[in-house]
Amino acid sequence: MITAGIDMGSRSVKVVLLEEIKVDGAPQLNYAVKKAHLMMPGDIDADQAAEKAFTEALAAAGVSRDQVKSVFATGAGRKQVEFATEGVTEMTAGARGAVYMYPQARTVVDVGAEEGRGIKTDADGKAIDFAGNEKCAAGAGSFAEAMSRALQLTLKEFGEASLRSDKSIPMNAQCTVFAESEVVSLIHSATPKEDIAKAVLDAVASRVCAMVRRVGIEGNVVLIGGMVHNPGFVASLKNAMDVDQVLLPELPEFVSALGCALIAAERQH
């Protein structure tokens, strides 16, 4: 049986095709990811983006649409996935996917393009509490992206640069726009780019950490969402949360789509 999870994020569409499997001698292995596909919609209408991404994923996996028993959607645009069987929120999908990958995880930190959130989960991967940023991008990936543009660095360079800094420069601005002018002031005062990058990522991490503290940091912490690809942010977050280890999935942007596909599969039983 194959099921699909589609995460309609604000910047990208993530599709996971999940196949139920049976492995002799390994009964704990119930599912295998058949295909993980990411599409940046560009100027495509959101309602067409899901269809296009799903079609691309099916083609890449060599799976026909009829073979997919159920499609679950999540993300800010999940209502626009018209062909989805059902939808679940990002909190439920993220918790389920994260605990499937790391059964010991009880705190899930999800930082995507436009939203950051902390999720407390139980051993079954059911979200039991959550907190998110309110109406503000300063605790999310798009803030880091905007600041990297101000520094004329790619996102990859931006994250790597911050790791070369050991300075702690406080960012006082409470919003993305004012923070950008603060960054410009730092540039004008000849502050090294790596120090500015670290200041920005420390600020994002601090915002995210404040959200996670609202639900409480318990057990193992797993970080999901696109910001996992930013090593500077990961370092800043570890420091802000004062934890020894943050679990980092290999394909962090697909965890919520995976959670969706898992819920879709498990609802079939």
């Binding site: 909190m91 439920t92 079954d124 059911k126 907190a131 309110e134 109406k135 609202r214 898992l262 819920i263």
Partner: protein, 379 residues
């Protein structure tokens, strides 16, 4: 299914300024813009006036910045904006009874900068209502307000007139309690949005007219069949929240708001006065004894158990904190009240409210809350 039972309340809410103007033309009485539900309306009614609580419009505005800090609560700023924009130009008077410092600033700016104001009065109600000295002080403040109104109108406000207006207000409180009792039932026949329309309009519609409308609704409720799924039973907690689009959204995704602890709801009408010979004392003490706003709830935190009891009585599954941004009194209570509810098995959700609210992201949070409550096996 909408049977139109609450349409009159909805129309009053949406056309509240038209109502006040028509009332004024019909009766020739004065209209008074009131701030805070601690305002002793009984005195204004006895003086032949219409107390109209100032509400925000939930629209972006750009007129309050010269008068009130941007980090004062959105309700205070939205309320002041309505005055500055001339939307209460029919109100001769403006009055505030002391609650929080942010509201005080709204009142001060209103009386100084709204050109149609002819008179203003500040009721210096003590915040420490738990002290017997404060209760005495408040009785004196209510009496002082009575004298002010008599001087203003040139007409005596007799004890009998006060008893009559107190009886009208108490009847309104009792009728609203009866209406809210219907929300205790499984699959209640009154939605949260309908209850909000009924309770908030009591704050600016002529009480006698409001009472008659409540009686009509109460007579029809026993046979009402709303034919809508109940979903999860939610409670709302906060200050002044009349964001109907938010409430409607909550009730459209699989929930019913069955009770609240807000000044737009139960805190306004929950208790009636205690009978006694001294009518001024009866009026004043009712305000001291009502379910407390956080500004008047110390040294003992009486509202924590009150909120929990409401949650239990109305079989609430989760409570949503509708936190007005920068509202210090409510934000100060939040951590302890959250702990108190959660320790007693009531999960909570915190949402920060502004003049306008992002319904999309809020919907996701409500839906996620519903998923966490779901007993159905998600997987």
């Amino acid at each position: 299914m909408n049977d139109g039972l609450f349409d009159q309340f909805k129309e009053w809410y949406e056309k509240r300024h038209d109502y006040a103007r028509a009332w004024k033309a019909r009766t020739g009485g004065q209209v008074v813009a009131t701030m805070c539900t601690y305002s002793p309306e009984e005195l204004l009614i006895a003086a032949g006036m219409l107390p109209v609580r100032v509400l925000g419009a939930h629209e972006p505005q750009n007129v309050t910045e010269p008068h009130i800090f941007g980090m004062f609560c959105p309700f205070c700023r939205d309320s002041l904006a309505q005055g500055l924009l001339g939307r209460y130009d029919y109100a001769e008077g403006v009055t505030l009874t002391q609650s929080c410092i942010q509201y005080r600033q709204t009142y001060s700016s209103w009386r100084q900068n709204v050109p149609t104001v002819k008179w203003d009065y500040y009721v210096a109600m003590p915040n420490d209502v738990q002290s017997p000295h404060s209760r005495k002080a408040h009785i004196a403040e209510v009496q002082r307000f009575r004298v002010f109104l008599q001087t203003l109108t040139g007409k005596e406000i007799t004890d009998d007139m006060l008893r009559e207006s107190l009886a009208v207000c108490d009847e309104n409180r009792r009728l609203l309690r009866q209406l809210f009792d219907y929300r205790k039932e499984t699959n209640p026949q009154v939605t949260g949005v309908e209850a909000l329309y009924a309770s908030i309009t009591a704050q600016f519609i002529d009480k006698r007219e409001h009472n008659e409308q409540l009686k009509k609704v109460l007579a029809a409720l026993p046979t009402r069949n709303l034919d809508r799924p109940q979903g999860a039973r939610f409670m709302t907690i906060g200050s002044e929240n009349d964001d109907v689009s938010f409430m409607a959204m909550v009730e459209s995704v699989g929930a019913t708001i069955v009770i609240d602890d807000q000044c737009s709801g139960t805190r306004y009408f929950w208790n009636a006065s205690k009978p006694g010979d001294d009518v001024v004392r009866a009026i004043a003490e009712r305000y001291c004894d009502r379910p407390a706003c956080p500004t008047k709830d110390y040294p003992a935190h009486t509202r924590f158990d009150h909120v929990l009891n409401l949650a239990k009585e109305y079989n609430v599954q989760a409570a949503i904190f509708l936190q007005q941004k920068f509202c210090d009194p409510h934000e100060g209570d939040y951590p302890d009240l959250k702990r108190h509810l959660e320790a007693n098995g009531i999960p909570t959700l915190f949402l920060e409210f502004d003049i306008t609210n992002p319904i999309g992201p809020f919907r996701i949070r409500i839906e996620a809350m519903l998923e966490t409550l779901s007993e159905e096996e998600l997987f």
